[in-house]
Symmetry: C2
Subunit: 107 residues, 2 copies
Amino acid sequence: MASLAATPKPPYYAVIFTSLRSDADDGYGDMADKMLELAQNQPGFLGVESAREGLGITVSYWQNLEAIANWKHHVEHVAAQKLGREKWYSAFKTRIAKVERDYAFEQ
Amino acid sequence: MASLAATPKPPYYAVIFTSLRSDADDGYGDMADKMLELAQNQPGFLGVESAREGLGITVSYWQNLEAIANWKHHVEHVAAQKLGREKWYSAFKTRIAKVERDYAFEQ
């Protein structure tokens, strides 16, 4: 999705998920699409930005920490996370961050 | 650069820079490389992760807000930002966020 997330005025939260894929494909694309759609339907979801170029970066934006915790523990997401560790990722890092300020440019 | 940033224990800061490129090339790659190298030599720089797939996402990590402000106002970086607005980007968004927690996985 090549568009910038239209997030509200700060403060809000960002989940910065960076990952390196394993060689295994095996349903990864379908699961990634499914999780993206599911995330977008969670309470408190504000937007998402994603790109992969060797390294994958997905930043999702949320109203508060409770929304992030709920999404982390969503039953389908938990199952996907398990498969991610078992099959799809060789490494990943998740950072939870509070967005304090933002500024934008558009031509 | 396909590697996860080896950041220290939180708290620290993230600058989430997401962008859409214009059609203009005109020195963009060289400038991006130069700014990356320059950023890495600034006081308080902790790491960077970057990917472009239509949408570009660069997340740089910093010790504190002062380090971010100093980098924002670095004279060569200011000149690059000006060219970015004039030539290279159709839109971008910069978010300043305080990383409160992180967790990692490695196979």
